[in-house]
C-alpha cells in the first residue's frame, strides 16, 4: 500500500478532501497561513496530485505541523472540503511512519504526547494543575502564579471539589475510571502510538546527542525562527 492509499483509509481524509479547485478560500482566513509559512491550499493540492515523493516530503516537513486545527477552513470551502481534517490525517500518518522526527515542529509530538496522554492516564484530564508548571507558563500571569501556589485554598474558596470525591470541579477521577481509559488506550492503538513516539524520539535524541529528557525540554522550547517568511 502506498502513502496515498494509506491516507484514503483515514476517515478524516475521506471527509476532508473530495476535490480541490485551488480557490484559496481556506488560506484566506487561515490563522496559521497568516502567521506561519503555511498555505493549506497548497498542501491539499500536493496531496490530490498523489505524487508519493511529494507526499513523503510533506510528512517529513514542518509544514503539516503549523495548522491550529481551528477548522475555520471548513466553513468556507466551496467544495465542502476541510483542509484541517486532511492535516490531521497527514499528521497521524507522519507519526505512524516515524517521519515526524525529521522536522523541528514534528519533533514536538514527543513533549505533547508525554504531557497530554500523561495527564489523561494519570488524572483523567487533558489539563491538570499538577502538570501546569509556572516556569513553562509565565504568560498565565502573576495571578496564576499566585493561584498555583495556593491551589487547595483557592479552589476551595471558589467552590471547586479539587481532588475530592464525588462530582464537581476538578474532583479526583476514581482509579477505576482511569483504568478504563487505560484499557481504551490499549484497545484503540493509543498505547501503541505513545510507545512508537517514544521509540522514534529516543532514536532521534540519541542522534542529536541528548537524553530523552533533554530532548523533551529542547523540543518544547526551541524555535529556529524558520516558521516565518523573512
Amino acid at each position: 500500500m502506498n502513502l496515498y492509499e494509506e491516507l484514503c483509509k483515514d476517515y478524516r481524509f475521506r471527509e476532508g478532501l473530495h476535490t480541490c479547485i485551488n480557490c484559496g478560500t481556506c488560506t484566506a482566513i487561515c490563522p496559521a497561513a497568516e502567521f506561519y509559512r503555511y498555505d493549506p491550499r497548497r498542501i491539499v493540492d500536493i496531496v490530490q496530485r498523489k505524487n508519493e515523493d511529494e507526499i513523503e516530503a510533506l510528512l517529513k516537513s514542518d509544514t503539516i505541523w503549523y495548522c491550529g486545527e481551528c477548522m475555520s477552513c471548513s466553513t468556507r470551502c466551496p467544495r465542502t472540503n476541510t483542509p484541517g481534517l486532511v492535516i490531521m490525517a497527514l499528521r497521524a500518518m507522519s507519526i505512524r511512519h516515524g517521519f515526524f522526527t525529521a522536522s523541528e515542529k514534528g519533533r514536538q509530538v514527543y513533549p505533547l504526547t508525554k504531557l497530554l496522554t500523561g495527564n489523561i492516564l494519570n488524572y483523567g484530564y487533558c489539563v491538570y494543575p499538577e502538570t501546569f508548571k509556572w516556569e513553562d507558563h509565565q504568560e498565565s500571569g502573576p495571578v496564576f502564579k499566585w493561584h498555583l501556589e495556593h491551589l487547595k485554598d483557592d479552589f476551595e474558596r471558589i467552590g471547586a471539589n479539587y481532588q475530592g470525591t464525588g462530582p464537581g470541579v476538578l474532583r479526583r477521577i476514581p482509579q477505576e475510571d482511569r483504568d478504563e481509559l487505560k484499557a481504551i488506550f490499549d484497545e484503540t492503538g493509543a498505547t501503541d502510538q505513545i510507545n512508537l513516539v517514544e521509540r522514534c524520539s529516543k532514536a532521534k535524541a540519541e542522534e542529536m546527542g541528548m537524553t530523552l529528557e533533554e530532548y523533551g525540554k529542547y523540543t518544547f522550547e526551541y524555535n529556529s525562527g524558520n516558521d516565518f517568511d523573512k
Binding site: Y11, E15, P31, F35, G68, C70, M71, S72, S74, T75, A92, V109, L112, T113, L115, L116, N119, I120, G124, Y125, C126, V127, Y128, P129, D136, E139, S140, G141, P142, V143, F144, H150, D153, D154, E156, R157, I158, G159, A160, T165, P167, V169, L170, P174, E176, D177, R178, E180, L181, I184, F185, D186, E187, T188, G189, A190, T219, F220, N223, D227
Partner: protein, 356 residues
C-alpha cells in the same frame, strides 16, 4: 451594518434546545482556569432555573485536546466519547450537555462520522465493549452549556439584579462576543445563529441590557491552536492571533468581551497581559485591559452573585472598573482571601497593566 439583515440570519439558525433533563459533562480547561464558571453553571441551572442538571462523578476528559494535539488516534477519542455516552445511558438521560467547545465539536464530529460511516460506529462499539464492557445509546440531543444559558436568557434577565448598563450615564455597556471555533465552524447549523453571525452570546448581551458591537476580526480564532499553545516554542502564533483581534476591536472601545469557549477567555485575558508587559500597550480604560467573561460569569454578575464567589479574582485583567460602572458591589479587600477570610497573600502586580 444593517441589523435587520442579521436578524434574518438569526431567524434561519434557531436550533431546537430541549427544556430540561440534562446530562452534564465538564471541561478540562475550564475546571483549571475558570472553576467558578462551572460551579456557577450547575448552581444557576439548578437553583435559579430549577433544571435537572445531572452530573456523574465517573466521567472523564473527552480527550479532545490530546486528539487535536495529534497525540491519540481518532478511534481512541471516539471510544472515550462512547464511554461518556455509556455513562449518560446508564444514568437514564438523553440530552447531553457539555461545558467545553472542543468537546462539543468532538461529539458532533463523532456522531456525524458515525452517521456517514456506520462501520466506524460498529467498530467503536466493539472497542468500548472490549475495553470497558459498556454499551451506549447515542444522545438524542447535544447542547453546549452556552446553548442552555441562551435558552433561559430572558428568565435570567427577569431575575436579574443588575443590567449591563452604565449606572451613571444609563447607556448600555458595549460588548463584543467571541465564539469558540469548534462551536459552529465545522457544523454551522449546530450553533445558534450559524457560523457567520452567531447569536448565542449576542442574545445574552441584548437580553441583559448590553449592546453588541461587531468588529472586523470578530470571527477570527483566538489562536489557541492546541499544539501552537501547549508547546512553548509555538506560542508566538497564539499570541499573534489574539493580538490581531485586539488591534481590530480597539477603535470600537468595547467595555467587555463575552466568550463561550474554554480556551478563548484565557487567551483573550492573558495575551492582553503579555501585550502590556512586552509592548507597554493596554486596550481598556486607564491602563487596564478589557475584561473577558464567560457567559456563566456574566449571568452570575447580573443575577447578583458576589464577584469573588464566582472566581473573577482568577482573571489577570482587572474586572473592578467594569463592576464599578454597573454598580455591582464588592469588597476589594476580600478578593484574594480564602475560606473564612484566610490570608493567602496576593498576586504581584504587573508592571504595565493596571490591576488591583
Amino acid at each position: 451594518m444593517i441589523y435587520q439583515g442579521k436578524q434574518k440570519i438569526w431567524a434561519d439558525y434557531q436550533k431546537e434546545i430541549p427544556d430540561d433533563h440534562w446530562y452534564y459533562v465538564r471541561s478540562c480547561i475550564r475546571q483549571n482556569f475558570f472553576p467558578g464558571s462551572e460551579k456557577m453553571f450547575t448552581k444557576i441551572t439548578r437553583d435559579d432555573l430549577g433544571l435537572d442538571m445531572h452530573e456523574n462523578a465517573h466521567h472523564t476528559t473527552c480527550g479532545g485536546i490530546a486528539y487535536h494535539c495529534d497525540t491519540i488516534p481518532q478511534e481512541t477519542v471516539m471510544t472515550i466519547v462512547a464511554r461518556q455516552f455509556a455513562l449518560m445511558t446508564e444514568a437514564g438521560y438523553e440530552n447531553y450537555c457539555c461545558s467545553c467547545i472542543t468537546s462539543f465539536g468532538n461529539y458532533i464530529e463523532t456522531l456525524e462520522s458515525w452517521h456517514e460511516f456506520p462501520e466506524l460506529e460498529a467498530r467503536i462499539r466493539e472497542h468500548l465493549w472490549k475495553s470497558c464492557k459498556r454499551e451506549f445509546n447515542k444522545p438524542k440531543y447535544i447542547a453546549h452549556t452556552s446553548d442552555v444559558i441562551y435558552k433561559h436568557r430572558n428568565e435570567i434577565a427577569e431575575k436579574a439584579k443588575f443590567r449591563l448598563v452604565d449606572k451613571n450615564t444609563g447607556e448600555p455597556l458595549r460588548g463584543v462576543e467571541h465564539i469558540g471555533c469548534h462551536y459552529n465552524k465545522m457544523f454551522p447549523s449546530k450553533g445558534v445563529g450559524g457560523a457567520e453571525y452567531p447569536y448565542v452570546l449576542c442574545g445574552m448581551i441584548e437580553s441583559w441590557g448590553g449592546q453588541v458591537i461587531d468588529y472586523p476580526e470578530r470571527r477570527h480564532c483566538c489562536g489557541y491552536g492546541f499544539r501552537q499553545y501547549h508547546i512553548k516554542a509555538n506560542r508566538g502564533y497564539s499570541f499573534a492571533n489574539t493580538h490581531k483581534k485586539f488591534e481590530s476591536m480597539e477603535p470600537y472601545h468595547p467595555d467587555f468581551i463575552l466568550t463561550n469557549c474554554p480556551g478563548c477567555p484565557y487567551f483573550l485575558d492573558r495575551w492582553q497581559y503579555v501585550t502590556a508587559e512586552t509592548e507597554g500597550k493596554t486596550y481598556g480604560r486607564n491602563g487596564c485591559g478589557i475584561p473577558v467573561f464567560t457567559y456563566e460569569e456574566l449571568a452570575s454578575l447580573v443575577l447578583g452573585y458576589d464577584p469573588w464567589d464566582i472566581g473573577l479574582q482568577m482573571h489577570q485583567v482587572a474586572v473592578e472598573p467594569f463592576l464599578d460602572r454597573i454598580g455591582i458591589e464588592y469588597d476589594p479587600g476580600a478578593k484574594y482571601l480564602g475560606v473564612n477570610k484566610k490570608d493567602l497573600g496576593r498576586p504581584s502586580l504587573p508592571e504595565h497593566m493596571v490591576c488591583f
